[in-house]
């Protein structure tokens, strides 16, 4: 796993001057190699005789949890790179920079997922974010892209500062930044005055909550998702969110597990706000990318529901949700990339009118992704929602489970609205709809969408292997050496 990580970084920088499409291919190969590396590591950590281990001075932890997120993030890189290939050529921006940044950003995500130390979490987060700031502003000719980069950068820097302050306070309260040592310290000592620790919790939650776009730290999301080049948005919504949750889950569910009575109410409020604001504001949007942005906020709420349950089942539900969500969201933004045409010109709802007639397969794929996000049975989205809500019920958070279900219904309206726009019969002589340009589907993007589609449907039908995978991928605390 560590080897894969360094390969990822070093190889990305060494790429020469190749034929067209090479960069994307190279990125995908690197991501797949990293995925294979993760799969091998999975074999090792699930072996009862050997189990999880920490490495490099306890700075990183190789356990099922980090391997799981390694796979989620590499999947996101591979799919987004496939989407980016054609997009960049269409925009006349072809070159290695975006792929380099994507790989580096993914490396940051992997570092966050594997981190066993708050400092390493912070550095991973920065690696992830700084590359993303640049990627969001990658389209130099579009003002929206620049604007989104600046907004993301300013707010992201603030949230990093919050996170850093939180780390400092937790270090002050526990005397270590290492997760294992913090957990040991908290288990051995009862803090007489734990204000410092709790303030640290709150600040950590702000910093990580920003990254996963939990309300009220979500205000950047719609603007950045809308302004960023669409393949970047796909990456942002999948890899960046997964990495944020990796850190959040590991920090709170495993390191600060003893203090769950203190952080669960905060998490509860966050989850409710995120669910409600995400799904209700999505309804009033007219731009498809903004709609998807708000819906991704509400998805973050569902993952928080799993986290709030603070049980193994909730965690497994959250992990399953993230994996399923990665495929769905990359697929959705992939379709948006194709329909949006040159310069991300038009993502408004009318652009999708009659897509079923112009591009039946594309419309079908988008419908499946949207239905999966809405949580319709026979898709991975249904099971994902089912597991997190089931965990919430098990943890006796009935109100939260109820709110989650209601917001799922509300956001279903959004997805159906897009679907209706696509399938709405275009009447004869409707010049405007007929004049909408032909949507070209390049093979790389088609491959990416196909993989996402197959995963979404197959996991919806045969979920058990993935469910087992998520269930075994719990974070482990290996006691620190002397």
């Amino acid at each position: 796993m560590g080897g894969a990580l360094f390969l990822l970084t070093a190889a990305a920088l060494a790429s020469g001057r190749p034929p067209r499409g090479f960069y994307a291919l190279f990125t995908v190969i690197t991501a797949v190699l990293a995925m294979v590396g993760s799969a091998l590591a999975w074999g090792r950590v699930t072996d009862p005789a050997r189990g999880a281990y920490s490495a490099i001075g306890d700075a990183i932890m190789v356990d099922g949890f980090s391997v799981f997120f390694g796979i989620v993030i590499t999947v996101a890189i591979a799919l987004a790179a496939l989407l980016a290939d054609d997009y960049l050529r269409r925009e006349g921006l072809d070159g290695p920079e975006l792929y380099v940044l994507m790989l580096l950003s993914g490396t940051g995500g992997l570092v966050m997922a594997m981190a066993n130390d708050l400092i390493v979490v912070f550095l991973g987060l920065e690696t992830l974010s700084i590359a993303l700031y640049v990627m969001a502003g990658f389209q130099l000719r579009r003002l929206e892209s620049q604007e989104s980069a600046i907004k993301y950068f300013v707010l992201g820097s603030f949230s990093s500062a919050f996170l850093l302050y939180g780390i400092a306070l937790v270090y002050g309260a526990t005397g270590s930044t290492n997760f294992s040592r913090i957990a040991d310290f908290l288990a051995d000592n009862l803090l007489a005055a734990n204000g410092l620790l709790l303030a640290g919790f709150a600040l950590l939650l702000v910093g990580l909550g920003f990254k996963v776009a939990a309300v009220p730290f979500h205000v950047w999301t719609p603007d950045v998702y809308q302004g960023a080049p669409t393949p970047v948005t796909a990456f942002l919504a999948s890899a960046s969110k997964a990495a944020g949750f990796a850190a959040l889950l590991r920090v709170f569910l495993s390191t600060f597990d003893l203090y769950r009575l203190d952080w669960r109410p905060i998490m509860w409020v966050l989850a409710v706000l995120t669910l409600v604001v995400g799904s209700f504001l999505a309804v009033v949007q007219t731009d498809v990318k903004r709609m998807l942005a708000y819906s991704s906020i509400s998805h973050a709420g569902f993952v928080l529901v799993g986290a709030e349950a603070a049980s193994d089942r909730g965690l497994a539900g959250a992990l399953f949700y993230l994996l399923a969500y990665t495929f769905m969201v990359v697929g959705s933004f992939g379709v948006a990339t194709l329909v949006g045409r040159r310069g991300d010109a038009d993502h408004s709802l009318p652009a999708y009118r009659g897509l079923s007639q112009r591009r039946p397969l594309l419309a079908l794929a988008f419908t499946v992704f949207l239905l999966a996000q809405a949580g319709v049975p026979l898709t991975s989205g249904f099971l994902a929602k089912f597991y997190v809500i089931g965990a919430a019920v098990e943890a006796e958070s009935y109100a939260l489970a109820l709110i989650a279900m209601i917001s799922a219904v509300v956001s279903a309206f959004v997805y159906l609205r897009i679907t209706v726009a696509m399938y709405m019969t275009v009447e004869e002589g409707d010049d405007a709809a007929a004049a909408l340009p032909f949507v070209r589907v390049p093979p790389a993007a088609a491959l990416s969408l196909g993989i996402a589609l197959v995963f979404t449907v197959v996991v919806g039908l045969v979920p058990s292997p993935v469910v087992d995978f998520a269930r075994d991928a719990l974070p482990v605390l290996v006691s620190a050496g002397p």
Binding site: T9, L13, I56, G57, A59, I60, E91, G92, L93, E97, V100, L101, L104, S105, T107, G108, V111, D117, I119, V120, L123, G124, E126, T127, I130, A131, Y133, V134, G137, F138, L140, R141, A149, G172, A173, T174, G175, S176, T177, N178, F185, N189, L191, A193, G195, L196, R341, R342, G343, A345, D346, S348, L349, P350, A351, A432, A433, A435, L436, P437
Partner: protein, 202 residues
């Protein structure tokens, strides 16, 4: 005795510098006064035995950051006298006063209650009164326990460089030409606007 004298001299230097930052008419003088303040603080750090902090203070703050300030001042032009009577952001002065009072209050509370919030946990580094210099201890910690973090920092710097290059370059002229020459795209845009107005009417 020596300690007291050092402290007094450093304190005077710091205060004069700080007042100079505020009262200088010329922004360049302000920046230079800031250097004086930061040097004074560095001297205090040395007096406390925190040699590493003192070095960082001089290198990072006095060196890098103030030079950055000077760069910006020079780029914007020194002659432009700031008109202090106008307020570009309404209400920022009362807000600044509130924040200042709150910060001082926070510091005071911390100073009074600092004893009670300490947790008894051992620090990663050694106490200050130990035999070894704190630079050696910090180096040891950095290259053992925090080695990975140290290495990841280098990745971070690489990203910063790549990012700066990407953001700073101009859009490729070839691509721009293509956009202008491509007539069909222009037609698309026209049709699209038409569609939008129709949708708005409906």
């Amino acid at each position: 005795m020596v300690d007291t004298v050092v402290f007094l001299v450093a304190a005077v230097v710091i205060l004069v510098g700080a007042l100079g930052v505020i009262f200088s008419r010329n922004p360049v003088h302000s920046a230079l006064m800031l250097v004086m303040t930061l040097f004074g603080v560095a001297v205090l750090f040395v007096a406390q035995g925190a040699h590493f902090l003192a070095a960082v203070q001089v290198i990072v703050y006095a060196g890098a950051i103030v030079v950055l300030f000077l760069f910006v001042i020079m780029l914007l032009g020194v002659d432009t006298a700031e008109n202090l009577s106008s307020e570009p952001l309404a209400g920022q002065r009362p807000a600044a006063a509130v924040v200042a009072v709150a910060s001082v209050g926070l510091l005071a509370v911390l100073a009074v209650r600092a004893v009670q919030v300490s947790t008894g946990a051992e620090a990663t580094t050694l106490p200050l009164d130990s035999e070894r210099s704190n630079i050696a201890v910090l180096a040891e910690v950095l290259f053992t326990d925090y080695l990975f973090a140290f290495e990841v920092t280098s990745v971070l710097l690489v990203i910063a460089v790549v990012g700066a290059v990407v953001m700073a370059r101009r859009p490729r002229p070839a691509a721009t030409d293509e956009l202008e020459d491509d007539g069909s795209d222009g037609d698309d845009l026209g049709v699209e606007r038409h569609t939008q107005t129709e949708a708005e009417l409906a």
